[in-house]
Amino acid sequence: MNTAVHLPQDPEITPEVIAAHGITPDEYERIEKILKRKPNFTELGIFSVMWSEHCSYKNSRPELKKFPTTGPTVLVKAGEENAGVIDIGDGWAVAFKMESHNHPSAIEPFQGAATGVGGIIRDIFTMGARPVFNLNSLRFGPISSKEEATPANVRHNRRLFSGVVAGIAHYGNCIGIPTIGGEVYFDESYEGNPLVNVFCLGILKHEQIARGAASGIGNPVFYVGAETGRDGLAGAAFASRELTEESKQDRPAVQVGDPFKEKLLLEACLELLATDAVAGIQDMGAAGLTCSTCETASRGGTGVEIDLEKVPKREAGMTPYEILLSESQERMLIIVHKGKEDIVRAIFEKWDLPHAEVGVVRDDGIMRVKAGDVVVAEIPARELADEAPIYHREATPRPAPQPLEVIPPADLQSALPALLADPTLASKEWIYRQYDHMVRIGSAVRPGSDSAVFLVREANKILAATSDCNATYCALDPREGARIAVAEAARNLACSGAIPLAVTDNLNFGNPHKPENFWQLRESVEGLAEGCNAFDIPVTGGNVSLYNESPAGAVDPTPTVGMVGLIEDESHITASFFRTPGDAILLLGDLGNEMGGSHYLKVLHGRKAGVPPKVDFTKERALHDTLRTLIREGLIRSAHDTSEGGLALALAESCIGGEGEAFGAEIDFGTTGLQPEVLLFNESQGRIIVSVDAAHADAVLAKAQESGIPARRIGQVSAASSPLTIAADGRKVEWAVDDLRRTWSGAIAECMSN
């Protein structure tokens, strides 16, 4: 192999330069072995981004192998391409995936979140799919404060929160993809290191699946989309380090997104993919041109040669290093069948987008980068893309959580409003009102219910989607917490009448070099895998974000689950809110008694402690199947799972969460023998509150019991604006639902207006 030249402006390769690139001495040795010589500066930069955790998953890959990724509906497996593809019948398929933009959002919340959305959308249309909806899963430090003068940290958390929401809205609204759901939690552990996980789903016909391989020796390689600037230089490497005070100086690593350009790029790429011109297509995400070039070559088993002088540039005087590592947004690489170049040019002219033929597919397995006649980098593509070192990190278990001895009491009357006013449990309307959640005329169940339900008109299919993860449980017991995340997502789908199809996940953890963090990662992955196996659903892909730490320590382990389900018939679409006074209210599942990790303890007593609830997958599945059967038989008016805040919170939400007037409810649990706080606020899994026509109540109870599901009638829906009353063991508490609604719906807005 030739030696790529040393460019006069480039620094010499010294141990310091190597270390500054985050490359260890062992890794450097491996690079020399692959190249059979020393790398030049540009090549070192290329290796550093390709071998960063963000691109190579070098710390997590052995763990990710534990996920189930196959199944009869899997058309493209996780990891094979940019996103997995799942069959939904009648020749249609969905591609979906979740992606994090945590560190960029910590530094610049608006642009960081916006470009996260842009990135995940590109991942989806690269597959040939038309994006149809987005979700988002967010974590911030606390935004509420009881103090007279709001402390600076709370003010900062609010600023991050409002910037992130505005950024997601900016990008998603402009490009015209509805954001129909998500989740948000506020917790001390995310202070200084918020989590911003964004999800996109697209729809395509089986035969439209596009591949990211550079195939066909001699085929031209096109660059399309925005010009390359010095944006986000080495952002991938940046995402793979801890946030420190100095990283605020890493400021050029922030990129600015242009959703308008992405909209044009999306339409142009889908128009082009409908022709027969494309041999392969790959978005430029982290590590931009570098990553797309070597990955397409590696997938195609080919080589790719590009000339940087032909790359459209925004700024003059960019070095090869800068061009290759730039993370400018809204760009794609397209391998075109020779002879069809004019089709590409015509379409990109029509959409007024920059385009250039920058290279060619070769048969030598080499990623060769030239600047005119000068070869500036020459690296075996497969070794670069796929042979990053793999690390088997050390794992040390954290001490097991201690069971709670006593459950501290609270004033029941004020405990429920206090929980409803907690920003994590309060209405998320302040957020989703800023998102266009109705464009594409498909939102049959809007944000606010257990799952969002979307009518995909082009395919005549009904999809449901949710994202879930209670990281408090994960902090106490990462395996059980991850299992619950899967169970809760599946339960949310069941409550909307859907059958789960597949899962995407986003693993947000601290520095994996710390054995306790790595243990959390491993436990969580195994927990997620157990959950997916239990529900027989494959993982279609996801994202790993490590090094989520601030000076105060690692974030709570947060293995976010995004789950998509299919609703077979529009009559099965179900929402969480009571609909008709007089309907009977039933509880499917037990009364429960697990208080460990509960929101009750956290919000009312400031404790994150105890053993979190256990999930029993066999019972859970039977519960979901039974609920779906009842829904199919037309017996269910509303269904809402109980999660954070327990039965009391779920009942209150069913009363006040709908769009019309708030309903009251009269609830009587009879004799339970439970401490009232435990009855109302425990977070045991496997429970769903349904409302049914009173005339059907007995039939529903009988059917549930036949399937082995504990079921009881606990009360009835009462007229709009009548109170919510809950009685048990000779005591009765009453709340005015209009007050509850005011507290719940205004809580976040109130924090944000201060």
Binding site: A166, F260, D436, V439, I441, E570
Partner: protein
């Protein structure tokens, strides 16, 4: 009857409008690309919602210069029915096909939710199947829906019944509390003096399918069809 949906770069409700006309109403509907310069044979032209040119500079400011806009204004001058929804309304005010301007919502936030709208005047091809005082429930989704105009313009709009829709509550009361965005006099939609051009911020195309909550958008499309003497087979 034949309808056209104009596609500007950044339009994103074009497919929704097309869907409602072509599938719900089974009307022959074309997309017309903004680089076209002619527009003939159409009985209805829609400027759809979205973010034409990214909403850069001002909403609708750049789209107004698209080649097709000359044809659109000729079509309107000839009395053709022209409907601007959301960004389409913004383009109409920037083009001076409708008076006034749409500026940033008072809260500075984008707002997406259903809203009640009182029909102020039904004497137009666009709302002839409604009653004055009737309350419609339609989605809004915009960051710049705050209608503004000088006093003389407002007086003129009032005097000649050009204000067709106002933000209200479910009972039809119009007050500052029922104003989502700071719009002058709660204005949600206006027509021109000759009543063939209608711009509104709410999205009627998002309210034509009962599964989406409200079907009040059909009043608007039904009215247009009635005016054109078409019986919908929807």
């Amino acid at each position: 009857m034949k309808a056209a949906v104009i596609r500007f770069p950044g339009s994103n409700c074009d497919q929704d409008c097309h869907y409602v006309l072509a599938h719900h109403y089974r009307i022959e509907t074309d997309y017309v690309w903004h680089k076209e310069s002619t527009l003939s044979g159409y009985d209805l032209v829609i400027l759809p919602g979205g973010f034409s040119y990214g909403d850069y500079l001002r909403t609708g400011a750049i789209a107004r210069f698209s080649p097709i806009m000359k044809a659109v204004s000729d079509y309107a001058a000839g009395g053709g029915l022209l409907l601007g929804i959301c960004n389409g309304f913004q383009i109409l005010t920037e083009s001076r096909l409708l008076p006034g301007a749409l500026v940033r919502n008072r809260s500075l936030h984008f707002i997406c939710e259903n809203r009640h709208l009182r029909v102020e005047n039904n004497d137009s091809p666009f709302l002839s199947t409604t009653e004055v005082g009737q309350v419609l429930n339609l989605p809004i989704a915009h960051g710049e829906g705050n209608y503004t105009a000088d006093e003389a313009t407002l007086a003129q709009l009032e005097a000649s019944g050009q204000i067709l829709l106002r933000y209200s509550d479910a009972a039809g009361n119009v007050s500052p509390e029922t104003n989502p965005n700071g719009s002058l006099s709660n204005i949600a939609g206006i027509t021109n003096a000759s009543r063939n051009v209608f711009g509104l911020m709410p999205h009627p195309e998002r309210a034509c399918d009962p599964r989406l909550g409200s079907t009040d958008g059909t009043f608007l499309f039904d009215s247009i069809l009635k005016t054109l003497g078409v019986t919908a087979d929807a």
